[in-house]
């Protein structure tokens, strides 16, 4: 593969709602469009990383209708037509199927990678190295998934099970099973066993190969996608609105990957991956001061305070408090413990139940 192969394409899935960064994230501004870790948003960082290997005009983004205008603003380097809005949310199998279709229309020999819009990577060169290996494996005709060596027994991720005696080197290893989010005891067993890896949600294949698999395992959905006229044609949007909502609401893991027999895994280089799943994850990714406080803005006024994360646009004084998360926005304020930050989603559900639309 050359530095920027003209065969390499990327599909970025950017439809997620992301309630776990409330009050910073809202319906109109979900996680992927927020500048959480730097001045750039997570999706801008994702695109920038991918551009090390893939030309910007070979990147496709699938998002929701409400988010498309914001993405057009944030991603001026990507051709407008390649930022596509789903007429309805249908989970990852139809989304990836649609992306594979659009990419194969452009290049029948295309090698494509599928990427979540809202993950973080701290070491881009190692990330690019992993991508090279994954594309290489995909070129041979496999459905390739990237596995992350687990750093703790996380119960919030799916796992890939490799054969017990597989040599987890640079090459592709057959995936024995996809494992859904485990309970705590199972997660511990997975990590101890050594042949279980976090499912990164990054996939690599020839567009053709994935569409064959989709045709085989989800023929009804494949049929809807095939019924659409091409991306730049006049009828595309009308067809998308007509056929896409008919697709089955199924994840790619469940609908395709667990059933196909040509699935292999590539073990990720240690590129500092995070799914940025909570304010706690943001804290972990942030630079800390001497007392382990991290602040998104410069206004922190700590007095005997340690291990806190602060995101605010005004000075915040912390006196005698440890391990808190404080997130201030013009119309809502969150204070929680770092260890409880994963419960922000519960709060958002509560607000939905109470019809507090102005806060959602």
């Amino acid at each position: 593969l050359t530095q920027k192969s003209n065969r390499l394409y990327a599909l970025i899935m950017a439809g997620g709602r992301g309630t776990r960064f409330w009050p910073r994230s809202r319906k109109a501004h979900p996680k992927q469009v927020l500048p959480i870790l730097s001045e750039a948003s997570l999706i801008q960082e994702t695109v920038e990383r991918l551009c090390r290997l893939i030309p910007a005009d070979q990147i496709f983004v699938i998002t929701s209708e409400s988010l498309r205008p914001e993405l057009l603003r944030q991603l001026p380097g990507i051709p407008r037509q390649q930022i596509v809005a789903e007429p309805a949310a249908r989970n990852t199998a139809p989304c990836i199927g649609l992306g594979a279709h659009l990419i194969r229309q452009r290049d029948s020999q295309a090698l494509m990678g599928v990427f979540p819009a809202d993950h973080a990577v701290t070491r881009t060169p190692r990330f690019v190295a992993t991508l090279r290996r994954a594309f290489k494996a995909a070129a041979s005709g496999d459905l390739v998934v990237v596995g992350i060596p687990p750093r703790w027994p996380e119960t919030g991720y799916g796992y890939l099970e490799f054969p017990k005696d597989a040599a987890t080197g640079n090459g592709a290893i057959p995936v024995k099973r996809f494992r859904e989010k485990p309970d705590a005891a199972t997660a511990k067993r997975f990590v101890k066993a050594g042949n279980y890896f976090w499912n990164s949600g990054m996939f690599f294949w020839r567009a053709e190969v994935f569409l064959d698999a989709l045709n085989h395992h989800m023929p009804f959905t494949a049929l809807q996608l095939e019924s659409m006229r091409p991306l730049r044609s006049k009828g595309f949007e009308r067809d998308l609105a007509e056929f896409y909502p008919l697709c089955e609401n199924v994840s790619v893991d469940y609908g395709v990957m667990e059933k196909a027999d040509n699935v292999t895994g590539v073990v990720a280089d240690d590129f500092g991956w995070s799914d940025v799943g909570s304010w706690q994850a943001v804290y972990e990714l942030s630079r800390k001061d001497k007392l382990s406080n991290a602040a998104r803005t410069g206004g922190l006024l700590p007095l005997d305070a340690r291990g806190n994360y602060v995101d605010a646009h005004k000075p915040v004084a912390l006196i005698g408090v440890d391990d808190l998360v404080v997130v201030d926005t013009p119309d809502a304020l969150l204070v929680t413990r770092r260890s409880e930050a994963h419960r922000v989603g519960e709060l958002v559900k509560l607000l939905e139940a109470r019809k507090r639309e102005e806060l959602l």
Copy 2:
């Protein structure tokens, strides 16, 4: 004493800066002018309480020049000239001396009470009953101070020591000694002994009697005050600016009360007194919900949160946090523990040292 005796006057001391309610309190808006416990400010509540017994036009207020405009706005019922600005802060002895002068000019037989502007009382009828007893004792020619039965071994207050065998009934008891803020062990001993009472900072006397005492114990200061032309005369303000700054910078406790031999104490009825010395005190005075959270505004969104105090003008979500103080203002936010809330003053000193004028 009749219901609203035309002999009864009040002097409210309202010059305090009050840094302990930052970020709500600022130089331009110290504690006494803030609506901390209700929709009314502490000084408005003080005036309203006093008006049960004392006509509004017999109330005098001494404050700082910077605060006078705000007090004129907040206290429209008090004659404008009776809200007097000190040209310089000179502690309580000169302030009270000035007030006694102004009141005696108005009525040579006046009985006056001295009141801090920024204390809280939860049971006004009992407060009024205590005032009646204190004024009665003052009519006989004593310097009367109100003692509060101590509810805990507070180290932040001064104490009054009564004779060990004194009958602490309704009448006035000779005060044996004024005790300055004790250390923790001494405070415990005081409370256990039973003949020590918190010094409320409320004093009662005939204006004449106090001015005699001032003349005796602080003759230089008394002389400055006597040099001034009367309140409503043309020269008053010029004289005030000339003579007041020459007064000794001394507290009334130290300068007069500890030295005089006609000092008696009246034990307060249980009127729910608080000096509202910190956010913790505000929490204690506030109504709590089932989980002991108290919020100044209605926007509290608690999830598994207990014992917190929140003052904010927007919704505040608390997840899994206990016993915090959260105070949000448009340009600064404070998060601390209730048990650490007394340290807000330290923070303000830090801001002063760093010349963060915009936050002071």
